[in-house]
Symmetry: C2
Subunit: 117 residues, 2 copies
């Protein structure tokens, strides 16, 4: 089958030994900054805290798809994903996240979505 132009790039970003996993304000600000550097437009950000010693789940709904974050303070692990269509480049978000959460180890996997195999 003929492939067609991909809707976009989807990054799965894993951080280990990260910081600020319970800081709602920093997480929201970081998501806004990440969207901005990629040239994306934030429609809405929703954050949910699971309690004093627990993690935070957050989603930024973008005109160009989404950013999500899930934190596990008990292990210092953060799972992020960034999916952006159009002319936005989600790779631009990586240094923003790294700078904010200062992980000891990180991994980025990227997938071009929408191209038919």
């Amino acid at each position: 089958m003929t492939p067609y132009i991909a809707p976009g790039l989807h990054l799965l970003i894993d951080f280990w030994g990260a910081n600020h996993l319970q800081n709602m304000e920093l997480i929201e600000q970081t998501m806004r900054e990440a969207a901005a550097v990629c040239g994306a437009t934030v429609l809405e950000i929703k954050l949910h805290s699971f309690g004093e010693n627990s993690g935070i789940t957050g989603v930024a709904i973008l005109a160009e798809s989404h950013i999500s974050i899930h934190t596990w303070p008990e292990t210092g692990y953060i799972a992020l994903d960034v999916f952006m269509c159009g002319k936005c480049d989600p790779n631009q978000a990586i240094p923003v996240f790294t700078s904010a959460f200062k992980p000891k180890e990180s991994q980025v996997q990227s997938y071009l979505r929408g191209i038919q195999n």
Copy 2:
């Protein structure tokens, strides 16, 4: 480095030649059903329509992470992702999505998140 127990499984699901790409009600209902069959708890669902001939972006924020959907009616393409931690199995959501959107072609990629390489 020693791996630790993974927070969860992340599925990237691509549908081509799919149906109901502008049906907000069906999309919300399908996200709720998908969460339920996986044993996940929906905290909130946010859907955004980009207009009469455009797609829909939706996110279900779960106690166990998230489900997202982005539709492109102009090409019949849907990008879904399902990330669930704990005992939930996101694979259970696949037949729910397939049954609702009836894609001609589909692809599922799955990634175990949180295990350190």
